[in-house]
Amino acid sequence: EPEVTQTPSHQVTQMGQEVILRCVPISNHLYFYWYRQILGQKVEFLVSFYNNEISEKSEIFDDQFSVERPDGSNFTLKIRSTKLEDSAMYFCASTEGPNTQYFGPGTRLTVL
């Protein structure tokens, strides 16, 4: 069964460093998303991506964040200068259209 994959599973970084989180969506899906979940809190929408551009972003997704689909299979989230408050689980999701989103296993980001 096709699934969304994410790497790395755990990333530890120093405050102020850049990180890139990687996702491989399900192959025939066209819409891609990043969500995050701070420990003990709810899953929050960050950004949606379709047709090689951002279709919507939340207030959380400020200038420190960017997304890219560098090739036909990968979808990345970059945080340019990490802050302590960026520590969270980051989930990638994909879907064919306005229906079920399938989530990856997540990347746990720890900012020290």
Binding site: K42, F45, T100
Partner: protein, 113 residues
């Protein structure tokens, strides 16, 4: 004001003791309501999608129902392996190509043997 409210926050059941989880929502136009299961440290795992009031979906011991204001996830004769956090999420009807999900805080279900 939260658009999606789940209750209870936590529920502890004995094996075989049936119960229901609630998800109430306040969106202007609902495209879909989704139930996910989340195990600790893992990503949300899809369970059900409901699109219109009156719709019901079933899978093993779980049944999801939808009204115009809320959804219920009924768990019949639960087993310890059903222990997880159950997440409800809504997708609003809007123009464009964004189908983002808005999640509730979840219900942590513990089923004791």
């Amino acid at each position: 004001e939260d658009q999606v409210t789940q209750s209870p926050e936590a529920l502890r059941l004995q094996e075989g003791e049936s119960s229901s989880l609630n998800c109430s929502y306040t969106v202007s136009g609902l495209r879909g309501l989704f139930w996910y299961r989340q195990d600790p440290g893992k990503g949300p795992e899809f369970l059900f999608t409901l699109y219109s009031a009156g719709e019901e979906k079933e899978k093993e011991r779980l049944k999801a129902t939808l009204t115009k204001k809320e959804s219920f996830l009924h768990i019949t004769a639960p087993k310890p392996e059903d222990s997880a956090t159950y997440l409800c999420a809504v997708q609003e009807r809007s123009g464009g190509s964004n189908y983002k999900l808005t999640f509730g805080k979840g219900t942590l279900l513990t089923v004791n043997p």
